[in-house]
Symmetry: C2
Subunit: 306 residues, 2 copies
């Protein structure tokens, strides 16, 4: 274990663009190596189609940034980064299916069920979800067993009925309903927030961190998750399909409540900015030195155009 | 860890019926306590409907019988037994959906998508799969972290693209195709066999076992998995819906290859008997004393009428 590489403290001049490019390259390589390889029939094709060459990789970047903040084990962080992306990818595959959102466009490409048929989309999503847990439990000892178990624990809780899947169930039940802000907040804190928070928690679990720093980083993650959803709702109203890479206006069409429909467009934008400022304060409160990437990711989330 | 209860060596007079009743009661209680509790919207109802009050619980019984053979930790074995049943249950929910087998009857009840709608069935299946991994990674130390990681590893591999999900993909691609016996065997070894073998492997992972005994028990598990599928194909031809609890003749109707269509009915029955005898030999080869439950489960698999 002592010989496994750890993240080094960042150089004093932190270049986010270079950092992100390097991390994205690393994540794409790892995903390409691990997803849908030697897989029977065309299941592997559907899995790779769902995961590779697309997506912002926000969750993997959060894992890696958090792992860097605590100087965690690189091998564990790479696996955690890929695992959380697989959960995200599977949720999109299933969410796009005709019985759910019935969406035909995702990341500018036909959705998986359009490309491969519904049965294969269903199976590919199932296989991606469980692959996440396979990645987290390598048989070699490069990742200590206690870390493996903790990563599985964090991911399973975030993805399940008391996390992402539960949020989707509330979302499903809320179509045509008028939600209060508290109800909307709860739905999103499960549907989207739980996995974003788990990304930060899993990154931290790759290293050692004080209770104070841990609480501050979890507060950062909660604020980021909320900001992410507010910006998502804003973009659903103002962006076009080409920029967004998916069909815009779906939520409004489906009569789903959003932060924009609840607060109005400009107040929603201002709310996102306020959440961003609070997330920076949380990072400062952590007392950790290497939070530049986490800080830049929060900026990216609030400033994104798709 | 040393204070955690372990399975005791069985009494010299082993009563399978009493053993099974006690184990089933234990598993039902544990599942009822863990599945779909405090779950948002009606997701929990769909999860509980899919899991509780139905099913033969063959996989949990295999976990518990294997754990007993190696005098494993009871707490770990209970969690492993429930986890493997959740994977089985989720696979049935998704397999029954219109885009897959489009089955309306399961265990004598309407299938989950008939009862709760397709979207909730999809979500409930997803939530059941991930709950399996949540059960395997309790935050308390009653189950050692290395055991937690090993149980997750075994289950993830068995359920994923190189196991159950991969077998389902082959099955999907095989409709209307003429398969050789080798191809049919491979499909079932993934689709059904992988999870049955994982049940035995997970039970063994709850204790300590010699390499020889481990190999013998895995051979037992492979033979049992194969026998299970052969008997399944026989029952699909000879049983009626009331006995079977699901729509019979589906495989023949769907032009799916089966052991019966390949070998004929009587040779398939004889093959199942031969596999049973070989599985008993594997148990004898293990050198383990407490294999009575495993032996009786093999007998049950080959003799079952549904």
């Amino acid at each position: 274990m002592t010989t496994s590489p750890r993240f080094s403290p960042a150089a004093s001049e932190f270049d986010f663009t270079s950092w992100m490019e390097a991390q994205l390259h690393h994540v794409e390589q790892a995903l390409s190596q691990w997803v849908g390889v030697d897989t029977p029939a065309d299941l592997g094709d559907a899995m790779r189609y769902a995961v590779l060459d697309g997506g912002k990789r926000l969750r993997p970047l959060l894992v890696l940034a958090a792992a860097q903040a605590v100087q965690g084990l690189q091998q564990a962080a790479t696996r955690a980064a890929c695992a959380v992306e697989l959960i995200h990818a599977y949720s999109l595959v299933h969410d796009d299916m005709p019985c759910m959102d019935n969406d035909v466009l995702r990341r500018g490409k036909p959705t998986v069920h359009v490309q491969f048929g519904e049965a294969r989309a269903l199976l590919a999503g199932d296989a991606l979800q469980v692959l996440a847990f396979e990645l987290l439990t390598p048989a070699d000892a490069q990742v200590p067993a206690s870390m493996q178990a903790q990563l599985c624990r964090l991911l399973a809780r975030a993805a399940g009925a008391h996390g992402m899947a539960g949020g989707q169930a509330i979302d499903l039940a809320s179509v045509g309903q008028s939600l209060t802000e508290a109800q909307l907040r709860r739905m999103h804190s499960l549907k989207t927030g739980a996995l974003l928070e788990a990304s930060v928690a899993m990154g931290m679990a790759c290293g050692v961190v004080s209770e104070t720093a841990q609480q501050a980083l979890m507060r950062y993650a909660q604020l980021l998750g909320l900001a992410f959803q507010v910006v998502d709702d804003v973009l659903d109203v103002v962006a076009d399909a080409a920029t967004l890479g998916k069909t815009p206006g779906k939520d409004a069409d489906n009569d789903k409540p959003t932060y924009v429909s609840l607060m109005g467009l400009e107040p929603a934008r201002a709310y996102a900015q306020s959440l961003y400022q609070q997330s920076l304060q949380a990072l400062a409160d952590s007392g950790l030195q290497n939070v530049q990437a986490l800080s830049a990711l929060a900026h990216m989330v609030v400033g994104r155009s798709h």
